[in-house]
Symmetry: D2
Subunit: 333 residues, 4 copies
């Protein structure tokens, strides 16, 4: 029973079906009919004109976005535990040609304007210091917390005031929206987001993420840089098909909601052990080594997360019986 | 009737089936059972110990290979019309951090030791000049010609003698092997190839290429750089599944053969118009503007290739009736 | 008797004196009084508002200029034999983060709008091809030829029409201006130049070149990138002092004129052997191996320049008796 | 009376004289007699075979060293307040092509094996995390503290054990050696240092620093990368001359000693106000805003260093009367 990662989950049936439907002759790269409909599909979803590019990984989406918002000689403010800082092998540095990630602390991997200001206000404005160019936040965060539209808007206002771009790593954007019940627009461009990595792979997709620019003029150079990074797939229609399948009837949102509900059920059983509130699909628990071993002996797979802590992630397809079994096992510890 | 590009073709049924079969819970990234079997599968195919990494595009495969063979301050010798030089948006420069592509001329986009020597022997061995570190050849070439094992081996011997690495862009490796009837080993490591971009996407695959290192010790850093370039897909099992499906029963070779046969049929009908001999699945024809227009009016799609020339590409799935129709239409011009 | 390179020459007495005069306590980096006067000094010289930055090498000046005019994913058009393409170890690729140098042919290392168009008009305007962003010309060229203001203006008009930036590598700018008798303005911004590497080191300076931006707004990021490249010297006043010394009373121009005159004297004696017309301070001669050996035996140092050719360079300080001796020796061959 | 920076100081008379003596015709770049003697001169000084390259800035020396010790996809451990992390505009990221600086805390900008281990032991050994490749320490540190040979050796042993390279930023190496009274060898290669940025500019030089490799085989690629970074000056003899002048009769050490003594005199007068012990030529004082203003009113220039602190730096040429005046003024506060 895998609670390792939402990357371990299978893909939605609708995604498989869409891939099969796309299996005809069409134009290569992103010239096909499905890819050409992406801008419209996301513009509808967000209620404003956006430019959307598919890529095969969240790391590519994040890094291309940061490359668009930050030149090589400036920096990107992010949480110290941000995925871009810790789990992408230096991809942001690669795609930006050496920009600096500027780590900020904050409970549950969340940033605030004050925490950001405390770091960047120390940077003298001269040519010796790397100056910030952008902020990147993750929603839901690496610890499963969710920024509300107001919290994002506060950072958005701060970013505008300082002349900084604002990126959202939405690898678990669906989980955030599902938790909040807000519109995708409220959580993004209305709150000042310039670029969003809209995650599908952790949420029922196979190999397609979307990079959304709320300033569509940013997309032209990114389309070139996507190719230059080897991320313009030859048969892009199979990626676009996945995205359209997940957007149809808000399947992406239903999948996010399902994962969240599974996590909530487990959180309920683990109430005294929670390291962070459970808002999305990740549960961080205080677990002794011995307790962790006991859970593993019962067939549960999960990550140790530093001494005395463990991470469980639920997916859109987590079986009810697995969820109930884990909840029971934790309660019984 | 599309003769634009083999990228326009659909994917083999076996590939779709394999993807569907892989649709279960498994370990993320390349930790799954299918990905872990790739080294063995390719080692069997090549009859020697290799390291194999999947990536989603040929550009990624080529660029990661070149990054492994060439430091930022040296150069890669290639044909002036090589895909890496002309059609990858500077990806080799991006992945190598600015190495120089050193263009060499040659009929049909083929290199020879003499042609390479004529260029690199002019480079004074001092710190002012960029020194070559590697050679990259394409097989089949960008003009549909095929290097024989002996031709590759001559370049391989030259490379070893000069201390240069040797990469083969095998976007159409299947077409080359199918044409030659040789073993994959003869055309690669036995002839001095260090790294091969083994193309599947143009040949019945959907989104999986293989990067093969015949010096397996090169692969460890490349695995890191694959992640750093955003090319470590979260659900790699769906890529590995495609590759295994195409390797099974030599489907890759059958597909390559089918495409070649379609091209040969068209070449037969176009004998006086051939710009290059047709050995793989590309046909370059002398066509006047008026003739090209006539073919288009009959429903054939293809690329103009400079003034008075046109390129037709056949795919593994090109329908017989399309092939016959095109052959007849060309003969009737 | 050295005719190897103008880099071998000593520095003008005025430069040494200026360095000694600068040997006081002052602000570090470029905050000192001398550095702060550079913008004004060059604005006076060029008759328009410019931004000027000192750097220690021509390679740094060229590469910083190109970095300002070309993003990593585009290209710089230059002559195949341009110093930036051949003699800077890939520095332009380093500073631009991998932009492509696009080689154009042309007699005497000179470019024309037609020759440039012939190359870049072949580049399809899609994301697969690297698009040009700038043109770089060298004046005087690597073969000692000089672009006239009209010739530069023709390229300038072409550049503007195509939306390309225009850089002039003026390592031997003094020699060009001395030859033409025009104003520095006519040869640069009035002819469409955006950035000029104004060479002083080959012309009596010790370690200071000037990078001039005729679009001063480009200089702010370059000032950062100069630091980032390790080119913001701690005690910049010693560089600024050199430049002011060479600008005073047009010493730079007198030095350039002296070097040109020495070259003209030698060219006169070598009239039937000239590979290129001699306009600046470089003389390329047809010389057999045996003739070259004879000259060397008489004490003359120079470069072989491919089979049957040799390069002689005169400096601002070339002694008359050396010049006469070389002229006589060549005439006597 | 400037206590801003040792970069504000003039250059030693011997340096000026050496530059004047070098003002003859000689081979360009680093082919001249003086440059060719550098390896020997430093090998003598360090009592082991080293390779030495001049560069014009400490930032270039540091960044070239780090580029030699760390590939683009790994990281360099350094103190959070290290010059390379804070004051070089991202030059290490530029020269390494995007390696990550991994910040460690420590009193007075000093690192210890334990502090380093505490950071890097958290980095899981997988392709998602950037792995460290090297450690960089500054001696004397950014806060004027000095690592002893034993302290360096402890870090050296740790580095070897973890397979990490070890660089010393010796912008104030002279001050460290002068404080310790040890040999240059004890403080460097005998303690495990692989590469040293040996600072001269802050210590009586004008524009020449030395990059010393105790593993001479590292220098060949660095010589190329120096050129590629625009740091191979055309007339290198004027840099080499400066270095030889400072090495002669241990002038470098005498200069370092003089600066230290000036600092010690001031520290004596400021005993209750010292933020850090004064071991080299930097004095960090607790000063109220009002006290700082009072000192400035008396003609002393210095940096504020965060709220309630100020930095004073003494140079090799600091006039006795200035030192006495400052000491008296501080004592009188």
């Amino acid at each position: 029973m895998r609670f390792f990662s939402d990357n371990a989950a299978p893909v939605s049936d609708a995604v498989l079906a869409a891939i099969a439907s796309a299996n005809t002759v069409d134009t290569a790269y992103d010239g096909d009919a499905l890819s050409r409909r992406l801008d419209d599909a996301f513009s509808d979803l967000f209620g404003t004109r956006v430019a959307a590019l598919w890529v095969a990984t969240g790391t590519a989406a994040n890094s291309l976005a940061l490359g668009a918002l930050c030149p090589p000689w400036r920096g990107v403010v992010c949480h110290r535990d941000a995925h871009i800082n810790n789990d992408e092998a230096g991809a942001p540095e690669f795609f930006t040609h050496g920009a600096k990630l500027m780590a900020v602390e904050g409970e549950g991997a969340k940033l605030t304007p004050d925490a950001i200001a405390a770091v960047i206000d120390l940077i003298a404005n001269d040519v010796h210091r790397v100056q910030p160019a952008a902020i990147s936040i993750t929603n839901a965060t690496e610890y499963g917390l969710v920024y509300s539209p107001d919290e994002v808007a506060a950072i958005g206002a701060f970013a505008r005031q300082r002349g900084l771009g604002l990126h959202m790593d939405g690898a678990r954007f669906a989980n955030a929206v599902a938790h909040l019940g807000c519109s995708p627009a409220e959580l993004t461009w209305r709150a000042g987001i310039d670029a969003l990595s809209f995650g599908f792979v952790k949420n029922g997709g196979m190999s397609a993420e979307a990079l959304i620019f709320f300033k569509p003029e940013l997309a032209a150079d990114v389309a070139i840089r996507r190719k230059r990074a080897g991320h313009l797939l030859s048969k892009g229609r199979y990626l676009a098909a996945q995205i359209h399948a997940l957007l149809a009837d808000d399947l992406w949102l239903a999948n996010g909601r399902a994962a969240n509900q599974a996590a909530a059920r487990i959180a309920q059983a683990a109430v005294g052990r929670l390291v962070h509130p459970v808002q999305a699909n990740e549960i961080f628990l205080h677990l002794t080594t011995e307790e962790a071993a006991r859970l593993r002996a019962r067939g549960f797979d999960f990550y140790d997360w530093g001494p005395g802590e463990a991470r469980f992630v639920t997916s859109w397809s987590q079986a009810d019986h697995e969820v109930e079994a884990l909840a029971a096992a934790i309660a019984a510890l």
